[in-house]
């Protein structure tokens, strides 16, 4: 071939983004800016939302080939390879390993009835599932949308990557955004559904939990949950392994790495690749708006579920349980427990609900993992 300056210029121009960018890509880039703003300025779960937003930005720059699979002997794009960790279901369990190593289940062990609240606060999952079906979503998509109500990012990403990959970015963004918005979503519902008298209840101090109980706990949970629901093994198994590494007291260096470096590496890769699925064609659809609306609904009804069971436990316990700890059952650790603390203190300045709300809060993590396991058992390939 003869080389020509002009031809090269044309070739470069034709391969540049300016020549080929679509309006969908432009809109998605603007959406990524909004998410970056929310992550940095509004501090919306920035550890995940910032990488997600940046992944979205990269994925919507035209002609980069970042998400292309390998073709013949030509390797694929960077984000294609990093995405394999989601595709193959590896990243979410590793995040759970780190979360397990960071979680103190003592408040739950001291008051096992917290688990009831952690179950009730999955209520919104099923409300959203039901309405999603009514709106015409497929059962798989409806399940993935419903799981937003579990208020647990890795669980939502895990289930969606198994059942409805196209919805992955919308569901992940909704889940993390609403988790960040918990301090705005929950308080109105809390004041609506509880009386001042209920909110004033000071709870009995939790008993001390021995080291042995803390060590036996992750083993019992692993055995029981996975026997009952084998599909939940990757999530509950890794969560409890992380917790065992922490509580055993003999594997501190593994526990530290699981909750720091390993988790950070996986978080970066998980974030950018979840974001990179948000390309215009699949994201800019009415479905996305529906998902966002259904996600909010799911969060609200999960909170309501927790609060209502909290009220029932208030009654049955003769007023010993403050129903405000119920809404913490949605998980969103530790944000939701802090909201319970704040609302409790507003009603009674001497009321310290934080530790009491941590029980339902960590129970909610188990609860939504179980809910995800059920959906996967029903609709998984």
């Amino acid at each position: 071939m003869t080389y020509s300056f002009a031809d090269t210029l044309v070739k470069i121009w034709e391969m540049s983004g300016f020549a080929t960018i679509t309006w969908q890509q432009l809109v998605m880039i603007l959406v990524s800016f909004v998410l970056i703003y929310l992550a940095i300025v509004k501090k919306f779960e920035p550890l995940l939302l910032l990488p997600i937003a940046f992944g979205m930005l990269l994925a919507n720059m035209p002609m980069t080939g970042l998400m292309d699979g390998p073709l013949g002997d030509q390797p694929g794009g960077l984000l294609y390879y990093l995405y394999q960790g989601i595709e193959l279901g590896i990243y979410p369990p590793l995040i759970f390993l780190g979360i397990g190593a960071m979680t103190d289940f003592a408040p739950l062990i001291a008051r096992p009835s917290s688990l009831f609240l952690g179950a009730a606060a999955q209520f919104g999952i099923y409300i959203a599932f039901f309405i999603a079906i009514a709106l015409g979503f497929s059962p798989e998509a409806a399940a993935a949308i419903g799981i937003i109500g579990g208020a647990d990012g890795p669980t939502a990403i895990w289930l969606t990557s198994k059942l409805a990959q196209d919805l992955l970015p919308a569901i992940a963004i909704a889940a993390y955004s609403y988790m960040a918005l918990i301090p705005m979503i929950q308080p109105p519902l809390m004041r609506l559904l509880t009386t001042k008298k209920e909110r004033e209840v000071k709870m009995e101090q939790l008993r001390e939990v021995s080291k042995t109980e803390k060590i036996v706990f992750p083993i019992v949970v692993t055995v029981l949950c996975i026997l009952l629901l084998p599909s939940v093994a990757p999530l509950i198994g890794m969560l409890m392994l992380g917790n065992l590494l922490k509580e055993s007291g003999v594997t501190e260096r593994l526990s530290k790495t699981a909750q720091n470096e390993l988790m950070n590496i996986v978080t970066i890769f998980l974030g950018i690749t979840v974001g990179s699925k948000a390309v215009g064609e699949t994201f800019l659809k009415p479905e996305t708006l529906k998902i966002i609306a259904l996600g909010l609904l799911a969060f609200a009804f999960s909170s309501i579920g927790g609060l209502l069971l909290g009220k029932l436990m208030y009654l049955l316990s003769g007023g010993k349980i403050n129903p405000l700890i119920g809404s913490a059952g949605v998980s969103a650790v530790p944000m939701a427990a802090r909201v319970s603390q704040v609302e409790g203190q507003k009603a009674n300045p001497n009321n310290f609900l934080l530790m009491h709300a941590m029980g339902p809060n960590v129970a909610g993590v188990i609860g939504s993992a179980v809910a995800a396991g059920i959906f996967f058992a029903l609709f998984g390939k």
């Binding site: 096992p112 179950a119 099923y126 080291k211 029981l224």
Partner: protein, 104 residues
Amino acid sequence: MSLFESLQIALFGLVTVFAVLVALSIAISVESKIFNFFVKKKDAKPSAEPKEQTVKANLTDIIPGQLKLIDVDEKTAAMIMAIVSDESQIPLSELNFKYIKAID
């Protein structure tokens, strides 16, 4: 999927979540009772280990408390707080120190 079916699945799911978590709650209660039974047999205060007290400490720490300095000057205390904050990667504003005591 019909609406009726989806309602059934939703109910089924919620019931199953409750079933699993209630089962778990029972298992933990039983386990705790067994454990505490054995412990009481052994001796009176075996769980008075420092680790166990942190739960209690956390509870009372929430009260915006005063920092007690025991045999430590303020400069040293500030340094310790800075080191702990840096090492633990928790901003100082979020760390609560109950007291800092010199090792004599």
